[in-house]
Amino acid sequence: MTTALLLAVTLVTVASRVLPMTLLPTPHGRAADVLDALPAPLFAALAAVALLGGGDLPEPPVLAAAAGALLGALRRSLLLTLVCGLAGFALADLLLA
């Protein structure tokens, strides 16, 4: 890994963030509706990738973590979501160990 490659990767990564933020037009009409509805399914899909990205079904403690996170999310608190998710993971890991 050379310095030049690291700088090139930096440029690509920064550009991938800055260009859409500065060049994308503000959406209107139907596009605005679709984009407004995008976050929930997008994060749910990313959660599925995080769960199954290895190509195998997840271990029970990981499923318990996801279930705990869903319970914590009912209070609309990200901190509580993290705590409940980790608690679910730890409890399942302990019970199944």
């Binding site: 991938s16 509706d33 399914p41 599925a48 995080a50």
Partner: protein, 248 residues
């Protein structure tokens, strides 16, 4: 800003920083033997992208060409396009300001910016800076050999938890819940069938699911995120009745 929104912002930023810090330790410990200690920390300072950095290290370890590394990182960067498209209506106009906010364009900053009724730009900055500090500090700790008890085991689950939480926080109606559930199922099936599809499949499926949304009407008070954003220098208002109030 009064105290309650500040407290809410802090309570949102902390779990993100904690999760990213844990991953930073993992990255630092795994990348240092491949890149060297200095380059590992420098990569976190410069890139601030776990996906790109882990990919870069993996490819470097596998002996990939520099061109291959750049193409892979560029492909990962495409994910920023829908993130930017989602958050832009909630940001003030001005390319300069948006360009600066782009430096903290992450899944987590966008998720919290759209899930809460507080102004999106300060949310992105506060959560993003906290995440950045945690990422660099975690990387440095990993490089120095810090071995958080069970960090590796926990690291595999924290982003599942975060994404589940962000999805739930950005649901504002039962229809949103149905679209999110559908996206999770479809993406899960696609990922099991073709693991390499990964984040690309997630974006395609999510856009397809969100395209089923019914056309929204103007709220009685006239707030609508995109309409307000057309006017220069105007901050956008969150959609009325979202129920996404700040709560510690």
């Amino acid at each position: 800003m009064d105290r309650s929104p500040r407290a809410g912002l802090l309570l949102d930023a902390l779990p993100v920083a904690a999760a990213i810090g844990v991953f930073g330790v993992i990255y630092g410990a795994s990348a240092a033997p491949v890149l060297g200690q200095g380059a590992t920390v420098a990569s976190s300072v410069l890139l601030f992208s776990g996906a790109a950095q882990f990919t870069m290290v993996g490819l470097a370890q596998a002996g990939a060409s520099p061109e291959g590394v750049l193409v892979a990182v560029a492909a990962l960067g495409l994910r920023h396009v829908p993130l930017a498209a989602v958050v832009l209506p909630r940001l003030p106009a001005g390319r300069g300001r948006r360009g600066l906010l782009a430096l903290v364009l992450l899944d987590e900053t966008v998720g919290l910016a759209v899930a809460r009724t507080r102004p999106a730009a300060p949310t992105m900055v506060a959560v993003g800076l906290g995440a950045y500090a945690a990422w660099v500090a975690g990387t440095a700790a990993g490089v120095l050999g810090t071995d958080l008890l069970g960090a590796a085991e926990v690291a595999g689950v924290v982003f599942v938890i975060l994404f589940v939480g962000l999805s739930a926080l950005t649901c504002r109606s039962r229809a949103d819940v149905r679209r999110a559930a559908g996206a999770a199922v479809l993406t899960g099936a696609a990922t099991l069938a073709a693991p390499a599809a990964g984040a690309f499949a997630a974006v395609v499926v999510a856009v397809a699911c969100s395209a089923t949304v019914r056309r929204r009407r103007e709220d009685p008070d006239g707030t609508r995120t995109t309409a307000a954003a057309d006017r220069p220098g105007t901050r956008t208002a969150a959609p009325a009745g979202t129920g996404a109030e700040v709560r510690p």
